[in-house]
């Protein structure tokens, strides 16, 4: 019975995925002011979504929340810029090299960081990202210092120039879809299942003979691979890379996007990135009295406090609030995955406070 429901649900999911993909494909051709919407909103949401997806995937699958994703993002971006703009390397060589470099740095960072847990891991990855920031700021001969490396010449592949916004958009879309599908696929492989075991009970996994440490390292490396891909796309979006792209504010932006979209959902990354991009572009409206940064912070706190599931969890939350309101405390039985009692109480408390 549950297997039948599972198949039906899975089919619905794929249909939904198809619809969304179709919408995203026609988006550049139907939207007004495409030079703005495709580039400043569409492209930005896509690469920001990919790097946030790396954070969410890591947090969701292994329970490790990393604030250091932009380090690897920056490594790959700077490497492409240094090799193909300052240097003269062909993009066909520099792009894979850069992604490889970002992943390699991720591997090295993982070797040290995954020995820690929880808030210590968070702080360590934040420190790594700050290390990366100061490194690119100081190594002016390699990275151009504060000004960074500008004047990026976008490549041409199979006769399609990345200077054409539609080409770049579809490349980014393909990358985003590819990364998303890869994440979904991994979740169903033995590797992915082992990661969930490591997340839920590392001692038990260790007892079963799994090398927990190397599984974590592998997971972290994969997430740094995703971040590196995003770094390359972002480089072509900006047309330059500077330390300002990897500073603390941007690292926190990635976290905000993840929480906004829904830290439990990989697809939520893209909803969050679209939401933040639109917010950052339109928050100067005269009706809004606070600065953009303040507004972002306020929204972040509000989402954390009242909408912990993010955008993705909104309908679930609304449904649950409605059920509570109707049932006056009766718990709903159709939700197969129950929260822990403590969290359930906290959730009820919040809902009651609101309602």
């Amino acid at each position: 019975m549950s297997q039948l429901i599972d198949t039906k649900r899975r089919r619905t999911n794929w249909v939904a995925f198809g619809i969304v993909l179709a919408l995203l494909i026609v988006f550049p051709f139907v939207v007004p002011r495409p030079q703005f919407w495709v580039v400043s909103v569409g492209l930005r949401s896509l690469w920001l979504g990919i790097v946030s997806m790396s954070l969410i995937w890591l947090a969701k699958t292994t329970g490790m929340l990393s604030l250091g994703q932009l380090t690897f993002w920056g490594v790959s971006g700077y490497m492409v810029a240094a090799l193909s703009t300052t240097g003269d390397m062909h993009y066909g060589l520099s792009l894979p090299l850069a992604v490889l470099a970002g992943t390699a740095v991720g591997f090295l960072v993982a070797l040290i960081c995954v020995r820690t847990q929880g808030v210590y891991f968070l702080m360590l990855t934040l420190a790594v990202s700050q290390l990366g920031y100061f490194l690119v700021l100081q190594a002016a001969s390699l990275t151009g210092g504060f000004e960074g490396i500008g004047g990026i010449r976008r490549p041409e592949l199979f006769g399609l120039s990345f200077n054409d916004r539609n080409v770049l958009y579809f490349v980014a879309l393909a990358a985003a879809v590819g990364c998303y599908l890869l994440c979904r696929y991994i979740a169903r492989t033995p590797f992915g299942l082992a990661l969930e075991g490591v997340r839920d009970s590392p001692e038990r996994m260790q007892a079963l003979g799994y090398n927990v440490y190397w599984y974590r390292v592998a997971a972290f490396t994969f997430s740094s691979f995703l971040a590196s891909i995003s770094g390359v796309l972002a480089l072509f979006y900006h047309g330059r890379i500077t330390p300002g792209a990897v500073d603390m504010v941007r690292s926190v932006d990635v976290l905000i996007v993840s929480v906004l979209g829904g830290i439990g959902s990989i697809a939520g990354a893209f909803l969050g990135s679209t939401g933040l991009t639109i917010l950052q572009n339109f928050s100067q409206h005269p009706a809004i009295p606070v600065r953009r940064l303040t507004l972002t912070g306020v929204i972040f706190v509000l989402v954390l406090l009242f909408f912990p599931g993010g955008i993705v969890g909104l309908s679930d939350q609304a449904r649950r609030a409605w059920t509570r309101f109707r049932g006056r405390g009766e718990t709903s039985d159709d939700d197969p995955e129950q929260e822990e009692p403590g969290q359930e109480a906290a959730g009820t408390g919040t809902a009651a406070a609101r309602g």
Binding site: T12, R33, Q138, H238, R292, I311, D335
Partner: protein, 450 residues
């Protein structure tokens, strides 16, 4: 963190609902654009003309306006209202408002509407804001930015949107108008290196300091400041013991102050905004006991009247910049300060450096538009830029006109900080260097005499 996540693992369908809702809002009536160029930066060494720097044409759906028929003029403004220079940027808003009031909120019969986007001193944000203004709001004029690094990035971006006219608000990086300057980027104030160049010679010759160290923020504007200073200082025989560079936004100067060599005569410090306040309070706390030669934004009004305890370390600092000290006896300058105080009784006693530059640049822009009879959009700004290149007028700090790089060359004022017993410190004019010209060096980060 763990089990709560599990609940959201399913439910892609719900995600779709969210996305569909958002898409419904986004998908409006079709108006496809023929030109799909990203308008990227031009790379000169590539020599490739395909696909570079095309106009994002066809994005304008603004109706064509005949001159002076009252069609609203939209001016985009980018100001660093977030970050280390927020206080100065806010002061800049006040002086821009003064200009708007002088003009009655209209120019050449066209009512003015400004859209203010805030940046945060990083180049990417400034370009993102500019993109939004140009492509979403369809502006043909951008006034901004404040900070040096932003200016260089915007000047670069300007090349890809030749129909937009950029008027620099207060940024002082040398490269912006020296390294392959854009035809549509105008700067009505002198730049960082010009501001300190007379000070370098003054330090070596008049003050007699021959061995100094420098401390500055690590981005374009302070690079120019240190470059301009050291060029004339070293030419006059001075020597440099060591150069220190800190990131913009650095709030902890303890390690720097501790590493300063003990045998130097003085220290040249070019930091600004909140960094300046932090440095000056910590200089006192950590016992920095050499005289300080200030960069142009070290001891400006926003710093001297800040909440920190800057009094002890600021007293006696010699600095230079494009605006006269508050007490300088220049009639137009005194009138301007009085007008500023009348309009903003709760603000500073005298406008900050950035605010004065904002005033001059914005007024130059409006004067040029007025002289051009309000023609902005029809010819993609060509006549406006022509008019602006030839414009000259008398500003509160002196006569303004542009050189061939669309860069102004003005007098530089050397002043020092005096404690005249008032609640806030004051400044006193020492020397005026007339007609300081734009240099030829695009200063990077120096580690000694150039």
């Amino acid at each position: 963190m763990t089990t709560r996540l599990g609940r959201y693992r399913r439910g892609t369908a719900k995600q779709v609902v969210a996305v569909l809702g958002a898409s419904a809002l986004l998908l409006a009536a079709c108006n496809t654009d023929g030109d799909t160029s990203l308008g990227g930066e031009i790379d000169d060494t590539g020599g490739d003309t395909g696909g570079d720097a095309e106009e994002p044409g066809g994005t304008d759906e603004e109706p064509v306006a005949a001159p002076g028929d009252g069609e609203e003029l939209v001016i985009g403004r980018i100001s660093a209202l977030e970050g280390a220079f927020a206080a100065s940027a806010e002061d800049g808003e006040r002086t821009v408002q003064m200009v708007l009031e002088e003009f009655g909120n209209e120019v050449a019969g066209r009512p003015i509407r400004t859209i203010v986007e805030s940046s945060d001193t990083t180049p990417e944000t400034a370009v993102d804001r500019a993109r939004k203004l140009v492509e979403q709001d369809g502006v043909h004029i951008i006034h901004g930015p404040l900070s040096g690094g932003e200016g260089a990035a915007l000047a670069d971006y300007a090349k890809s949107v030749p129909h937009v006219t950029f008027v620099d608000a207060a940024s002082g990086g040398t490269a912006t108008t020296l390294a392959d300057p854009s035809d549509n980027y105008f700067r009505w104030h002198s730049e960082g290196a010009m501001w300190t160049s007379p000070l370098g010679a003054y330090t070596a010759e008049e003050l007699g300091y021959t061995n100094i160290a420098t401390l500055a923020e690590d981005y374009a504007f302070p690079h120019s400041q240190v470059g301009g200073f050291l060029e004339s200082y070293c030419a006059a025989g001075g020597e440099v013991a060591q150069t220190f560079w800190v990131p913009l936004g650095e709030s902890d100067y303890s390690s720097v102050i501790a590493s300063i060599p003990s045998d130097i005569d003085a220290m040249f410090v070019s930091v600004g905004g909140s960094d300046a306040v932090d440095f000056l309070t910590q200089a006192e706390e950590f016992g920095l006991d050499v005289p300080i030669i200030g960069g142009s934004i070290l001891v400006t009004e926003d710093v001297l009247s800040s909440e920190g305890d800057v009094r002890a370390s600021s007293d006696g600092i010699v600095s230079s910049g494009p605006i006269p000290p508050a007490t300088a006896e220049i009639p137009e300058w005194q009138d301007f300060q009085q007008a500023y105080r009348d309009a903003n009784p709760d603000a500073f006693d005298t406008p900050t450096l950035q605010a004065v530059l904002y005033y001059n640049s914005f007024k130059s822009l409006l004067l040029a538009i007025e002289e051009n009879d309000g023609v902005v959009e029809e010819d993609d700004g060509a006549s406006l830029r022509e008019t602006m290149s030839n414009l000259t007028w008398d500003s509160p700090i002196g006569s303004l006109q542009l050189n061939e790089n669309r860069q102004a060359e003005t007098s530089i004022f050397i002043y020092d900080v005096v404690d005249d017993g008032d609640e806030d410190l004051g400044t006193r004019l020492i020397n005026t260097a007339e007609g300081v010209q734009q240099g030829t060096e695009n200063w990077g980060r120096l580690d000694g005499c150039p």
